[in-house]
Symmetry: C2
Subunit: 259 residues, 2 copies
């Protein structure tokens, strides 16, 4: 079973949920399995208000945090797991079947990380862009003839899996000073910005396909399994490169070197 | 993963469901995890009609069978599993935590049995009498502070567990002639009737506590793990006893023995 500590380090993130009943059901499943941290991204305001003010809504729904973007909602997380089925898409990141997901979460929490479990809107699930913020795609093993799950039920199944399968012997007691923490999602986003600026500065790729390489870069950085100090080193390197590029441009006429 | 054969031998039974949305959600979870056999006991008629005629209702909901009593709904089943949490009751039968339930189901199906997974009404769950028809109580491991699950979510979690954990290597291929099948629930009910008649005939227990010993007898017979031939033998024995008792009474005046 999960301990209070581990449950505090797992976030449930609902992206643009529409139906107040589904929001309530998701929150109830969290309460059933002892999870307390809910974040909601860009909800439809009237329905979100309705869900929060419903009679009998769990406390955690009232305490939920609201974000404008998924990037902000998962900025503190070191493992971001999108959920869904693979029926209609070709995944761009590693796919983990839900029954094999708990060990991955355990390892991440044992390293002092923070995990986000991200659920998409009812109709279409997570978009390709949402998924580019995810390290892995957790697949619920549903029947090919009826792959798409109701939101509240998908949350219940995923949290049941974590609550009943994961075990964390001594995870609280381990010597944290010896563990190198994984990079949080926000650090990867900042690193991506500096790399992107560098790519633009050196005319590496045309502005017209900016969105496309930004997408690929997000996925690449999440595939690399960087530790937090790695991102700081890479950030330092690219900032230095940028500085030099700008410096070189400014001084290009006075360097004394032949053109 | 479960095969088509095994899914055909697992029934989902909803006892007196009230909310059409919950009935729909339960049916949808069944379709998601590839289960097809739904039985409903004494549903509230207007809501049951509404659930079945809902737009997008899965085929299996339209094919569902309706019963008046739980005893009839599970009469063909050899393992009847009630679901719930233990928050407010002292269980009278073995409790199996849901994460440990799949092996039990596998064994039962490998013997050629049929399994029923029984869910109670939304508000109160299964009654003590409902549970007396159950061989085991499957407990969903929920948080003590919020133990009670939404019906649709409870069905989803239980079926996810079965669909993703159970595996049945060669279960279809085994030599069925060598396997002694477990007693179906209906045989146990018929055996209970004969035993009860015997108990009444010999004035074993007063009629006033008839309901109480009927209850205990149901539980006892389910605890005994009888095979189908065992029930036939026991039935034969009690019928013989009954016949003799009646014969003895009829002939008591003519036996020639001194009073």
């Amino acid at each position: 079973m999960l301990t209070e500590y581990q449950r505090d380090h797992i976030e449930v993130v609902l992206v643009s949920p529409r139906n107040p009943l589904n929001i309530g059901a998701a929150a109830r499943a969290m309460a059933n399995f002892g999870f307390g941290r809910l974040a909601v991204v860009a909800p439809y305001a009237p329905n979100w208000r309705e869900a929060r003010s419903a009679v009998g809504a769990p406390e955690l729904l009232k305490d939920a945090t609201e974000f404008t973007t998924l990037a902000e909602a998962v900025a503190d997380c070191t493992l971001v797991a999108g959920t869904g089925t693979l029926a209609h898409r070709k995944p761009e990141q590693p796919v983990v079947p839900l029954p094999e997901f708990s060990p991955r979460v355990e390892r991440e929490l044992a390293r002092g990380g923070r995990v986000a479990l991200v659920f998409g809107p009812e109709k279409h699930g997570l978009t390709r862009q949402d998924l580019s913020y995810c390290h892995v795609l957790v697949e619920v093993p549903t029947d090919v003839r009826q792959p798409s799950m109701n939101l509240g039920q998908a949350v219940a199944v995923c949290l049941y899996e974590l609550a009943s399968r994961a075990s964390f012997p001594n995870a609280n007691k381990q010597d944290e000073s010896r563990v190198i923490p994984s990079a949080v999602s926000g650090s990867l986003d900042r690193l991506a910005e500096v790399i992107e600026e560098t790519m633009l500065t050196v005319d590496y790729s045309p502005v017209s396909i900016r969105e496309a390489y930004r997408h690929d870069l997000r996925l690449l950085l999440r595939k690399m399994a960087l530790a937090e100090p790695d991102t700081r080193r890479l950030m330092g390197l690219f900032r230095r490169i940028l500085w030099r590029l700008q410096h070189a441009n400014n001084n290009s006429g006075t360097s004394g070197k032949p053109k």
